[in-house]
Symmetry: C2
Subunit: 546 residues, 2 copies
């Protein structure tokens, strides 16, 4: 097995859950020429057809991406296919892909990741101009971090399928003689996979489900968000090249781009041959996907992430960390905190400060980023779409008191960038109507509670009813820390405790942090534990008399 | 850990899938006095209250079991509880049970299995007089086999939860410094479990889900079939004694008996605190259970099991084996074959025989059992209920040609036993209406096909549309054997090839054979692979700054 060493290191890292990066996160690790080449690539692709895919049979071309940095249409055209064509080709590909051993599939999929690696810069610039992420975040999230999470799925699938012997001689002692059977255990793929992408993390949220489907033998169709196709199109083209190179049907993975006037997602979901669906996006469509009978479904939907502030050694460090968390990519991460539960009195080192003083400190920390010309544009990135921007602009409609209104933030490189600073709303614990919904984007709610017990109780209630992917908490009291962890565990929310400095609640590390727990309404699946791959195939055991 | 050695042996057996039995299957292994004591126990419990349970708060007593051997009511009364009482007590128990380590839970659960072991004879006689199984099958299925499958679930749960470290120091190199976090991984139970039993295998089909719920920290309620309570009531009483002995809330497992005039299954299923449901029984109710939103559901429903006969060295050996398979417990096993696909011409050693000759051979093999006074009663057992009996008596309504009608079979020990011989119907491949439903009980359909390819195609279609738990096949052709396995794999049916002698397609061995694949309409779950326990808890990872 060509990539045995990589697989073994990845399995070990996954089991130990210590730091591991098969793909280092800094662009410097990938050579000096990547950036210039990527700029050329992007210049050439704008206004043109994306013709790198090896799949065929398109019936039209279309595309409607808009750069959040220039607010202009990219005018890139992608091949469009009928659902019938996509399913037919996937079924044919499936029939040979399923017969490969898990070792063969792992080798080919790691080749595919290595191919993708060579395009990290291209994918980064494509991600920047579709999602609005900064270049650096685009590079890391759509590049090494996505590849590592894909490798994690490959490693988990390899480990799961290898966990039982393929063949075994079974002997049952019967007293005077033995009964002997040859037993064969086959991990049979469930069928065709469908991975539905989102507009903010088109690669990071797509590769884990895609590679989990593939390592377990399911040919897969990727339906990207119509506003964020280019990054994943490059990745799929590179995967198809790896398949072709290995003599595998290139339709083992297909891009199924669509356009707003003719969306094909539901038609794909409801096709009887589609047995597996991975979905990232809003809760309404996610709930529809979860309700489909006869499908195995993995979702990541909306949630309201809480921050519980009880006490700290130094609240300025705390707010500085949290201000960065809410500013990073303008709060458009599924892991970004939204609801800050802060009691009337908070212990700050040896002194006690009031809720109102804490609000002032947080406001200052947010402004320190958004008014710093060296930091603001790079941290905030751009707002992916108009809906999110309008939510921020109409912040007064949310309720509560607008403590800090959003202002336009200048981006030197892209003067037309859709960029603005976070808004802050202050409200009371009683104002549930204000804070019990996801306000996607750069909007933060500071909620005044009687005490930390009330904060915990409200954070728990929000998570149980509306879901949560993260919970940040700050306390200097060991007992309170244990209580917060135990209480939030009951609603299946992971707690990040006392983070300050260069680590943020938003970041979930591959091979260590499960992403989404699957236990609350924010989603039913998690990157990447055993379930994330095991549910994609079925063990079938055959027995034969010797 | 007290039972470390047992757990380790069970994990190893589960991984290797070779023969293993923690609980030997023969009654002789459990001493000479058990049978006499069990007869006393049964004499004393008939017409009385079952008062061994340690749970409390009943609001009435009831029971309506009837012995298929005497056709008389047992008149045993069980405590009845309101759903509110059951849920309240389960919630309280859950809150301490979830805090035990997986090692502590495993030790207590193996104590519980050892307690149950001491009651194998009592459970056997209780099984016999509720299900109609013979004493020997009652002993094996409800005793050692059930305990082994429960241990298998405990071992798998222990292995899964131990697969990640509880605590880890995570260090991310940042160039000039490292970021260090303490990470803690908690396997959080999903909530209250509900296990819904069936009337034919009240212990074997209940213990795996029950022990899977418990090892993963979920307090569990067992809702037995109103006609088969006693066997599982004894098991639960013994489990409660083990819990009490370990200082654990006895309500960690509760018996929730009900009576036909006030069934509580749906009320339990729909209670918001019930998060996990295991169900064995008919497809209509199983489909309802699977459709419930917000529940994790494990089902075993109806199916139509096929036999594909292509060729054999000696067809008499084949039919002798299959005749036993359909006679054993009068075809009331979920693994019993129903549809026999036999081509116009079959190779029998060096000669070719016709379909009609094969029918004669099979008929003779069935009659050899049912007219043999030494074998008939012990093999057939008794028919569990009137519905099954009426299906057999009204066999002519099924369609096709009745080749062999059922006759009453005498049981010396129990003259009133509801026992009859298997009926055989012959029909053509075109008569799908005749054979495309489960005809639960001692009914066999011999279906004439053009050739084995048609047999495979029909067996596959039946399995895809109606489900199957087993598939038996006979061929002397290696290529045909591979084809049958590959084709039936696609509909997730395990194939038992060329079984003759003392091993039958009905038997699924613990620690080796997965039971039900979960991939076709016969059920969505399987005893016992990783999924069977992993879906009962959620990994939650907490991070803390050092």
């Amino acid at each position: 097995m060509k990539h045995q060493a990589i697989i073994e290191r990845a399995i070990q890292a996954n089991n130990e859950r210590k730091f591991f990066a098969q793909y280092p996160e800094h662009p410097k690790a990938y050579g000096d020429e990547g950036m210039a080449k990527a700029q050329d690539f992007y210049k050439n692709i704008e206004g043109n057809k994306f013709s790198e895919l090896l799949q065929s049979g398109e019936n039209a071309w279309g595309g409607e991406e808009v750069s959040p940095y220039t607010q202009k249409e990219l005018n890139i055209q992608y091949p469009l296919y009928s659902v019938e064509t996509l399913i037919g080709k996937a079924s044919a590909a499936q029939n040979s892909w399923r017969k490969k051993t898990v070792e063969e599939r792992a080798d080919i999929l790691i080749d595919a990741l290595e191919n993708i690696k060579n395009r990290f810069f291209d994918i980064a610039i494509a991600t920047q101009h579709t999602t609005g992420q900064s270049f650096m975040m685009s590079f890391q999230a759509s590049g090494p971090h996505a590849n590592d999470r894909a490798l994690e799925a490959v490693a988990q699938g390899y480990a799961s399928i290898s966990s039982y012997p393929n063949n075994v001689t079974w002997e049952k002692p019967m007293g005077k003689f033995n009964i002997t059977l040859n037993k064969k255990f086959v991990a049979v793929p469930k069928g065709i996979g469908l991975v539905i992408g989102c507009s903010t993390f088109p690669v990071w949220n797509t590769l884990p489900g895609l590679f989990a489907d593939l390592i377990t033998g399911n040919a897969t169709i990727v339906k990207p968000h119509p506003k964020a196709i280019l990054p994943i199109a490059i990745a799929i083209a590179e995967m198809q090249k790896a398949f072709q190179n290995a003599g595998v049907d290139v339709n083992t993975v297909q891009l199924a781009a669509d356009v707003s006037e003719h969306l094909i997602t539901k038609e794909l979901c409801e096709n009887p041959s589609v047995k597996l669906i991975d979905y990232t996006g809003g809760s309404a469509f996610g709930n529809y996907v979860e309700s489909l009978q006869g499908k195995t479904v993995f979702t990541e939907k909306a949630g309201v992430n809480s921050v519980i502030i009880d006490s700290a050694k130094n609240l300025d460090d705390v707010f500085s960390n949290l201000a960065f968390s809410v500013s990073l990519y303008s709060g458009q991460m599924c892991t970004a905190p939204q609801n800050f539960f802060i009691p009337e009195k908070i212990k700050n080192g040896d002194v006690e400060i009031t809720f109102e003083e804490a609000v002032e400190k947080f406001k200052a920390a947010v402004q320190a980023i958004s008014t710093n010309p060296k930091m603001a544009a790079g941290t905030l990135g751009a707002i992916q779409n108009e809906v999110t921007l309008n939510r921020v602009l109409n912040i007064s409609k949310v309720g509560g008191k607008v403590e800090l209104a959003s202002i336009r933030v200048a981006n030197e490189e892209f003067p037309e960038a859709r960029t603005c600073s976070p808004s802050i709303i202050v409200c009371d614990a009683a104002d549930k109507g204000v804070y019990e919904q996801e306000l996607f984007g750069p909007i933060v709610l500071l909620i005044k509670t009687k005490n930390t017990d009330q904060s915990i109780s409200l954070a728990k209630e929000m998570c149980a009813n509306h879901g949560a992917i993260t919970c940040a908490a700050y306390t200097t009291d060991e007992n309170m820390a244990a209580k917060i962890e135990d209480e939030m565990s009951q609603v299946f929310a992971p707690v990040s405790m006392n983070l300050t400095g260069f680590i943020w609640v938003n970041q979930h590390a591959g091979f260590s942090d499960f992403h989404v727990t699957g236990g609350n309404p924010a989603g039913n699946a998690t990157f990447t534990n055993a379930d994330f791959v095991n549910r994609r195939f079925v063990w079938v055991g055959h027995r034969k008399m010797q």
